[in-house]
Amino acid sequence: MIPAAFEYARASSVEEAVKLLKNYGEDAKVLAGGHSLIPLMRLRLAQPSALVDINGIKGLDQIKESGGKLHIGALARHVSIHNSQVVKDKLPLLAEVAAEVGDNQIRNMGTIGGVVAHADAAGDYPTIALMLDADIVTNKRTIAAKDFFKDIFTTPLAADEIVTEIVFPVANGPHKYIKFRRRLFDWAIVGAAAQKMDGGWRIGLTNVGPTPVRAKAVEEALHKGAKPEEAAQHASDGLNPSGDLRASPEYKKHLARVLTKRAIEQAG
């Protein structure tokens, strides 16, 4: 439970961080909230040669509405997203999801940029980003969420690329995120999100595969007038989740259907 030795530097601007990353080379890593990276380092599952700490970069945690979009700075902590009035007004689903991430310590430290860059299959925001067609903005480019979550822990980010913000559409119609878990502070065994938007439904699923899933078959069934219960039967279409200690693949598929049904029914 003791990490391997590493170099450490603190950046005060995105440019400086990028420069540090370049200097340290391939094995360097960005350090944000540290709540995914540090546990991995303690188990020596990650052994970065250097950490570039971005916590000192001013303004990288900004949350604002601009141009009809909701911009969330990469360094915004879960707790700030949950408490933000702008988020509550413009995308209440996201505020609710933020409250469901981990426990108090994790919400006080963990960042949205960290969740997105880490791309854990059980991460909650990636589901929302994917189903709502959010954009992930870096120091180099803008990447659509559907092109970003390619595999578990795998993104198109280059070694010297830093996520600066996530840009969501505004949506404040009926919505619900249901996270099925054993303990209040746990990751989702399966999560299901429903958001009414542009006259239709957006449905997203967490932890039913290596990446977040947009349940288009459910969206279409709803669009054609199916009842939530019928539409939700399509939630597991094409899913091929892997089993783990908490759930078999069959059980995950079952939960995807049940939770999707409940999320649509409870969306308010």
Partner: protein, 790 residues
């Protein structure tokens, strides 16, 4: 003068301000000049031959002081780790265990080498540079398969994997025929990891010039460690000091000595430097003894009218790769298989099985939760078969006369089982709950009510019974009370508090006995250099019933001497001296008094009675005449979501009887913690190994599920008081009660909830995926079908 007593007072734990403000001192808070850190290189395999160990790179790494392997340790350690008879005097085999592997490793995590370095970081880095070449062997992971004739063996060259096979009482076929209904059930008690907040840790300093060894260790029984370690290192007790400072939880897993408890002191002797090792959480989950790990085959029968006839239990205990020091203690599950009830016949057999896993050993309740679980499950199954209310079948068959000698010759000291059941039912609103349940079932709501009428043997425990079980040392308890010239008091006890609140409760007893202010009494424990020659430690809910009595006994010796001295000071006869609220006076003239402190001061002066020595201190050893037998009834109320298998624990009611109460707040605290731990076994915790590779899959808290306060309802507690006739204080034990009672209360509630689906038994942990599968199977759908009810 107002009569005040401290016994029974609900006072705050005096240790808490220190502990909750971070002022506690645990092993890792201590260091010695020149101390080095030790890291252990462990087997990644469950079973393998060690072909070679290459330490060259590690020895050259920065900061490394030494690397030791088996060949070094044999120079300073002899013998094998201790295994006591406990409840199984004769083992078929008990593989000899040296604290570090030589040619063969038999469980994942077994030590193969240690690295000493200037810092823990350097030790950790260097330990990764040791290259061990293994040749893997088949691992024995499954309890059933381990007993098959063609099974590979846990240890190469062993005849088989049988540790013991003991039938305490055989079947009685004639009695079995008397039953009108018979039920059978196979119950799994999964392996669980005792996860105390403070992991294990050892700091050792060896002084070469005088041959003394001082060891700081997170232990529940420092004197036993001294006894065993002294033997292994050839150091007599008078040169070996074991200090267990604040200990952040033990739950039974810090009774028995461990490999590192030998390796760290041995490394200190070998290197000439003080050495510290602190267990990581993963090491803890992997190598600290596990609890439970048993399978029970149970059969029980009753008459049509609900009269219980027989119960028969066979315990298969997954002992792990070596026998834990007190592994066979868990066989006491057999001796309590009949629970709180009258049965015509009770049959029991225990089978100990070796596997390539870390050893199992006592864990909070040790054998008694298992006994309660199997008995209370059987009772509910019989009630179901007879269409009787579970409360009624219990009520009808409770033991009502005491003392009661059970089928195994154990004598229950006192009890009032029906009273506790009634109180629990009243708090729960049992009748109303049953109605709600009935109504709910019509609407597809699966509400379940689970009862657990538990009993417990604890307070270990009479010398005659326990000396054979430990292999020599009788489990009595010692205390020393010292009264200083100005009247302040120090009490030294052989028990060890690691969450039990002895710093508070024992002074409460002394305050009443001596009549001195509670605040003038200081309690000390956990240092073998202080107090009586031997202490027996804390486990098996023994501290108050045995240790508290030793404190009481020593205090009374003090009063006896002080009374003699007071009589002398009053120039009166001893019989004429009254002692009340810490004041002596001559009966008939209560206005002339001598305070306890005055007498204490006088005891250090001149002119004492003929033959009386100066000073006011006393040592007492207390040997109880019997065990003590707490009991109670717990009720769990759950709602199961039939679509997801999720269990919502809605209410939890606990009525416990532990005899007289010294401090109600501490009793409640013990129940809270115990109940949480039992519920946790019922719903969350489980050590999982990969059956092929023998790798543990639950090596961090991400995978090993411990619930938090969020996962529990507010417990509703009630209490009955039936004093124990076994000791003068009338006390029993309460440390394990909650754990003993609660796992089955929850499981019975889940089974009750799912009864309409025809589900008869649910194993632990009752996780949603498993329940969902069972619900699927019961409702005839395949597990990949649509939703449960539709």
């Amino acid at each position: 003068m107002a009569v005040t007593t401290m016994i029974g007072a609900k006072i705050h734990r005096r240790e808490d301000p220190r502990l909750v403000s971070g002022e506690g001192r645990y092993v890792d808070d201590f260091t010695r000049p020149g101390c080095v850190a030790l890291a252990v290189v462990r087997s990644p395999h469950a079973h393998a031959l060690v072909k070679s160990i290459d330490i060259t790179q590690a020895a050259k790494a920065p900061g490394v002081v030494a690397v030791y392997t088996h060949k070094d340790f044999v120079k300073v350690l002899s013998g094998t780790m201790p295994v006591t008879p406990s409840f199984v005097a004769e083992k078929k085999q008990s593989p000899p265990r040296f604290p570090i592997a030589d040619k063969e490793v038999v469980y994942q995590g077994e030590p193969v080498a240690v690295v000493l370095a200037e810092t823990k970081y350097q030790a950790s880095d260097a330990s990764n540079l040791i290259e061990v070449e293994y040749e893997t062997l088949p691992a024995v992971m499954d309890l059933d398969k381990a007993l098959e004739a063609k099974s590979p063996t846990v240890h190469s060259g062993a005849p088989d994997n049988l540790g013991w096979d003991l039938t305490y009482i055989p079947d009685d076929p004639a009695v079995m025929k008397e039953a009108d209904v018979v039920i059978k059930v196979r119950i799994l008690q999964q392996r669980i990891a005792p996860t105390s907040m403070e992991t294990r840790g050892v700091l050792a300093e060896y002084s070469k010039p005088d041959g003394t060894l001082t060891v700081w260790m997170s232990s529940q029984s420092p004197h036993f460690v001294r006894l065993f370690l002294g033997g292994a290192m050839g150091i007599p007790e008078n040169r070996l000091r074991v200090i267990s400072p604040d200990v952040g939880g033990g739950f039974g897993a810090k009774i028995s000595p461990y490999s590192e408890d030998w390796l760290v002191p041995a490394a200190a002797k070998l290197s000439g430097r003080p050495v510290k090792w602190i267990e990581s959480r993963t090491e803890s989950l992997q190598t600290t003894t596990h609890g439970r790990g048993q399978v029970f085959e149970v059969e029980a029968g009753a008459k049509k009218d609900g009269t219980l006839v027989f119960i028969k239990a066979t315990q298969y205990l997954d002992a792990g790769a070596y026998m834990g020091t007190f592994a066979a203690f868990q066989a006491c599950a057999c001796l309590l298989a009949g629970g709180a009830y009258n049965w015509k016949h009770v049959a029991a057999r225990t089978v100990g099985v070796l596997t390539n896993k870390v050893p199992t050993d006592p864990y909070r309740g040790a054998g008694r939760p298992e006994a309660t679980h199997l008995c209370e499950r059987a009772i509910d199954l019989l009630a179901g078969a007879l269409k009787m209310d579970p409360a009624e079948i219990r009520r009808k068959n409770f033991i009502t006369t005491f003392p009661h000698t059970n089928h195994f010759g154990l004598v229950f000291d006192s009890g009032a089982y029906e009273k506790a059941l009634d109180m629990a039912m009243k708090i729960a609103g049992y009748e109303k709950l049953r109605k709600e349940q009935e109504e709910g079932r019509k609407k597809g709501k699966y509400l379940g009510i689970g009862l657990s009428s538990w009993i417990e043997i604890c307070g270990f425990g009479p010398s005659a019974a326990t000396a054979p079980a430990t292999g020599g040392i009788a489990l009595v308890e010692s205390a020393q009370v010292r009264v200083f010239p100005t009247g302040s008091v120090a009490v030294y006890v052989g028990t060890h508090s690691h969450g039990q609140g002895h710093d508070t409760t024992f002074p409460q007893i002394v305050a009443d006995t001596l009549g001195v202010p509670y605040d003038s009494i200081e309690l000390r424990h956990g240092d073998t250099a202080e107090g009586p020659a031997f202490g027996y430690g804390t486990y098996g809910s023994r501290s108050l019933a045995v240790g508290g009595m030793a404190v009481h006994k020593a205090s009374k010796k003090i009063v006896d001497k002080a009374r003699k001295l007071a009589a002398h000071m009053f120039e009166a006869a001893e019989e004429d001296i009254a002692f009340d609220q810490g004041q002596f006076y001559v009966k008939g003239s209560p206005d002339k008094r001598k305070a306890f402190g005055e007498v204490a001061f006088a005891s250090y002066g001149a002119g004492l009675p003929e033959g009386m020595e100066q000073g006011l201190e006393a040592v007492a050893y207390y040997d109880p005449s019997n065990f003590v037998w707490p009991f109670g009834t717990h009720i769990a109320v759950v709602e199961v979501d039939p679509e997801t298998g999720h269990v919502d624990l809605k209410r939890y009611i606990a009525v416990d009887d532990c005899g007289n109460i010294i401090n109600p707040m501490i009793v409640d605290g013990q129940i809270h913690g115990g109940v949480a731990q039992g519920i946790s076994q019922a719903l969350y915790e489980e050590v999982v190994y990969d059956n092929e590779s023998g790798q543990m899959r639950t090596g961090t808290f991400t995978d090993y599920l411990l619930p938090s306060a969020n996962e529990f309802p507010i417990f509703e507690l009630g209490r009955t008081i039936t004093p124990s006739p076994t000791n003068e204080l009338g006390v029993k034990g309460i440390g394990e009660a909650g754990t003993i009672a609660s796992s089955i209360a929850v499981i019975n509630a889940i089974c009750d909830a799912l009864a309409p689906l025809g589900i008869k038994h649910v194993d632990m942990p009752a996780s949603p995926d498993r329940l969902w599968k069972q619900i699927q199977e019961a409702s005839g759908g395949s597990s990949n079908g649509k939703e449960a009810r539709k």
